[in-house]
Symmetry: D2
Subunit: 273 residues, 4 copies
C-alpha cells in the first residue's frame, strides 16, 4: 500500500473533474492556461488578456508574488498585481491563476484569483499546504524541482486531508545533470500520476525546458501522454519581459500552437475548446 490515501486511485476510482466555472479540468476537455511569468504593468496584462481571449484561452496565469533566487531580483507588484489580474479577468471574461508564497497573503490572493498556485519551491511548505487545504478555491500544486512522485502526492494529500479536494497537479520539470534545458521534463510522471491518483495533471513546458523553441514539441508530447492540460508562458513582447522572456511564446505563436495541439488532442480522444 502506498503511503498516501485520499489522493490515491484506490480511494477513488473515477477521475476527479474540477469545475472552474466556464470550464472544467480533468474531463474530456483539455485546459490551456497561458500568460506571463510576472505581472509587470496594467498595459502588459490587458494586452495579454485580450490576445488570449481572442485565441480562445480561458485561464490566464500571471505572478504578483514572485519567489526569486536572489533578494535583489524583481519580486512582483504584489497586491497591485493582483488587482490588475482581477480587472483583466473581468473585462475579458477570463479566469486567473496566481501564486501565493506567504500564508499571510492567502486571503488576499484568494480574493482576487480563481485558482491558487503553489509554486515548485513551496511544494513542501506544509504550512501553506494546510492553509490552502482550508480554502474553497482550486489549488494548482507544482511539483518540487527535486521531489519524487511520492513526495508530490503526499503534498497533495496535505491539501486534501485539510478539506480541499480541488487539487490540480502540475509537472514542471525536475533537476538533473543535463544543462541544455532549464529542467528535465519528466513526461513519465503523467502516466505515473494517472495510475496512482485520480487527480487532474497538467504540464508546464515553459519552466520545464526554459527555451521557447522547445515548447511546441514538449506541449504536444504532454497532451499525447495523457495530460489534462498545459500551463504555457505567453508574453505580448517576450523580448521585453522582466523575467523568463526566453521561454515565453508571443500571442501569435500561442495561437499557432493551440491549433497544433487540437490535432494531437483529437488523436488521443480529447478536445480543446
Amino acid at each position: 500500500m502506498p503511503p498516501f490515501k485520499l489522493v490515491s486511485r484506490e480511494h477513488q476510482r473515477e477521475d476527479t473533474v474540477i469545475d472552474l466555472g466556464s470550464c472544467t479540468i480533468g474531463g474530456e476537455q483539455l485546459l490551456i492556461i497561458a500568460g506571463p511569468c510576472a505581472v509587470e504593468s496594467k498595459e502588459q496584462v490587458m494586452t495579454t488578456a485580450e490576445g488570449l481571449k481572442n485565441i480562445g484561452v480561458q485561464v490566464m496565469r500571471g505572478g504578483a508574488y514572485k519567489p526569486r533566487t536572489s533578494p535583489y531580483s524583481f519580486h512582483g507588484l504584489r497586491e497591485e498585481g493582483l488587482k490588475i489580474l482581477a480587472e483583466a479577468a473581468q473585462i475579458y471574461d477570463l479566469m486567473v491563476i496566481t501564486e501565493v508564497v506567504d500564508v499571510r497573503d492567502l486571503d488576499l490572493v484568494s480574493h482576487y484569483s480563481h485558482i491558487i498556485q503553489i509554486g515548485s519551491r513551496n511544494m513542501q511548505n506544509f504550512t501553506l499546504l494546510s492553509e490552502v487545504g482550508l480554502s474553497n478555491k482550486p489549488v494548482l500544486l507544482k511539483r518540487g524541482f527535486a521531489a519524487t512522485i511520492e513526495e508530490w502526492l503526499l503534498a497533495a494529500e496535505y491539501v486534501i486531508s485539510a478539506g480541499n479536494k480541488q487539487v490540480i497537479l502540475c509537472e514542471r520539470g525536475i533537476r538533473t545533470f543535463e544543462t541544455y534545458t532549464r529542467n528535465t521534463l519528466d513526461i513519465s510522471a503523467v502516466s505515473a500520476l494517472k495510475t496512482l491518483s485520480h487527480l487532474p495533471v497538467i504540464v508546464d513546458p515553459s519552466h520545464a525546458t526554459g527555451r521557447k523553441e522547445m515548447v511546441p514539441s514538449v506541449s504536444k508530447a504532454s497532451i499525447a501522454a495523457g495530460a489534462d492540460g498545459l500551463m504555457i508562458e505567453v508574453h505580448p513582447k517576450p523580448e521585453e519581459a522582466l523575467c523568463d522572456g526566453f521561454q515565453s511564446l508571443n500571442i501569435e505563436e500561442m495561437s499557432f500552437l493551440k491549433l497544433e495541439l487540437e490535432k494531437v488532442a483529437l488523436a488521443v480522444n480529447r478536445k480543446i475548446l
Copy 2:
C-alpha cells in the same frame, strides 16, 4: 560554436534519412523497432518474428550479447543468438538490430545484423565507436544513462568522423533521483536533438520507464514530440522472459499500441507503415 561538427545542423541543414532497405528512418515515415530484450531460444524468436510481421513491424530487436550489471546474470546466446535472429529475419522478411559490446565481435555481429546497436553503457566506449565508424551498417547509438546531450552528440561525432554517416540516436532515459521509473525519459531531448543535429532520433520507452503499463503513454508522447520512431520491448510471453519481462508488451498489446500511434503520427504529419 558547439564542439561538434559533422553531426550538427550547421554542417547539414536537411534531415539525414537513412535507407534501411525496405524502409527508411528520418523521413516522413516513422520506424517501429520491436522485439525481446534477449534472444532466449529459437522458438521465442520465431514466435516474436511471426507476430511482429503480422502486425506490420519491419525491424526486430533482440540481444545476443547482453551487458549485465552482475557477472552472474544471463549474458546472451552469443553467436547462436545471432544465427537465430538472422534465420528469423530471412523467414519473416524482417530486418534485425542487435547490440555489439566487444570490438572483437564486430565483424560477426555485422555479418548477421542489419543495424548495429551501441548500448547505453558503451556510449563512451570510444574504441567501439571508432570501429563501427568503419562499418557500412547503420548504427543505433543509445544515449548513455548519465550522458548530456552534448556528450551524446560527440559520441555520434566519433562514428561519423570515422566514416559512417548512418547514425540513429536513441533516447532511453537518464538516471535521476526519481525511483518510480527505471530511468527518467528526457522527452525534451527529441526537440533538442532536432535543433542541434540532422540525425534521426528514436525513443526507447521500455528501458526509459521500466514499466509496461507506461509504455503506451510515453510512446505517444515521443511521436508527438517529433521522434522518428520507437524501439519497444515485445515478448511473446513477457511473464516468462529471462530479462526485463515487466517492461515488455506482448504481441497483442503491441498491435493495439501501433494503431494508437498511427493516429498520433497523423496529428503531427507523419506516417506509420
Copy 3:
C-alpha cells in the same frame, strides 16, 4: 562577479565569527551540536541534555515543529516542545537550536531558542528567510536538498540583506541517484563555501548519510575538510526514537566520536572544547 554580495569573501575578507554566549562558531574552536531529531517527551530531552552536558557538548538540537513528508506523520510537540527544550537548557546550562517552519511561529521559537534553524525544505522559503533576517538570533541555514551552492548563498543573502549577519551554513547532503545513503554528502561544499564566503560552515552527517554507522567516518571527514562544526543526531535510546532512530548515535557513541574528532581537529589546527 558572483550574484551574491554581502555573503561573499570579496565583501568581507576575514571569517565571520558568531558569538553564541558560552562559545563561538567560525573561529579556531569547533562547535558540536547534538541531540534528537524530535522532542518527544520531557524525560527524553532531560536525559539527552544531561548526557550531552557530561560529555562537553554545548549546544543541543531538538525539533518541536517537524516538517514531515506525510500529513499523517508525527509533527512535533510544538510550543510544549519548545518549553521542554528551554527548561533543559536552563537546568543543564546548554544552548538550544530548533527549527521554525511557519513565519507565524517565529516570535515563539525565538523566545525559547538560542539559535534558529531553517530546514532544508525551507531554504527557499523567502518569506521565512526575510523574517529571520529581522531577528537578532543566529540563524542556521540548512542547504536545500537539491540546491546549488550559489542558490544556498543567495538564500543566506536574503537573511543578511534583511539585517541579520549571524548566519551559519549547514551542509546536509544533496539528492542524487545513489540510494545506499539517504542523501549524498557534498564534502566539497565545505571548501567551496570557504572560498566564496566568510560565513561559518557546519555539516550534518546524520541526515546526509541516514546511517548511524557512517556518521563517524563522515564527521571526521568534515572536520578534516575545514568545517567549523557538526550537527549530529543523538538520542538516548535510538531504537525507540519517533523519527530517524536509525541515523542517531547514543550518548556513549557520541562521547567516543568526540574523542576521535578532537584528534582530527588538532591535525588541522582546530580545537574542540
Copy 4:
C-alpha cells in the same frame, strides 16, 4: 543478501592488502599516487618523476591512452607514452599506473605498467573487466560517474570472479546537478565500501572537484574518512598541461599537501611513508 559475493565483507572478513612491491595498499600505510593527467613528453614525465621521487611519492600516474569526450581532442601518445612511463619508473625507482581503454591493448599496457587502471567511462565495459580479471597485475577500478555503489562493486566482482583478486576501488566523484565542481565527491562511499567490501579504497580529489584549490580540503577529508590512499593530479607546469591543468597541483603544492596529510593520517591511526 547483496547481489555480490567475492567482493563482499561476508565473503572475506579481513581487509585485502595488495602487495605492490615496494609498498602495499589496504593496510596501515596509505598510498599516494600522483602524476599528470596525460603523458605529453619525455621531459614532462622525467621532471614529474624526479619531483615525485624527491617528495617520497612511490606511484606515478600518467595517461598514455586518453578516453576523451570529443574525437578531436588529444588522445594520448599511446605506446610511446607507455615507454616513457616505464623508462621514468626505472630511472627513478617508481611504480606506474596507467589506463587501458581497449582490450586489444591490454597486453601492451600490462607489459609497461605496474597497476592497470580502468577509467570511469569503462567501469561497465564488461569485456575489459573480464580481461583484466585474467591479468596478474593489480587493477585500479574507478567508479563510473553515474554508477551506484552496488553497480561498482558488481563491476569489481567481474574482475575477481575472472580470477584477479587485486582490485583497488577509486572514488572520483559522481554526476549531480551541482555545477560548481566538476563532479560531486561521494565521501560517504568510503565508509560504505569499507562496510560492504574488503577491498582497498582510494579517492581521486582532482577529478572529483576539477579545481586545484579544493584538492587539499578534499584530500584531507578522504584520509579522515578512512580511505586507503589518494590519486592526485600533479604536473610540473599545470598552466601548460594539455589536459586538466586547472585541477593539477605542481610539485611544491603536492609536497606541502603531503605534509598536511601525514598529520591527518596520524589522527586516524594511519601512516604515510
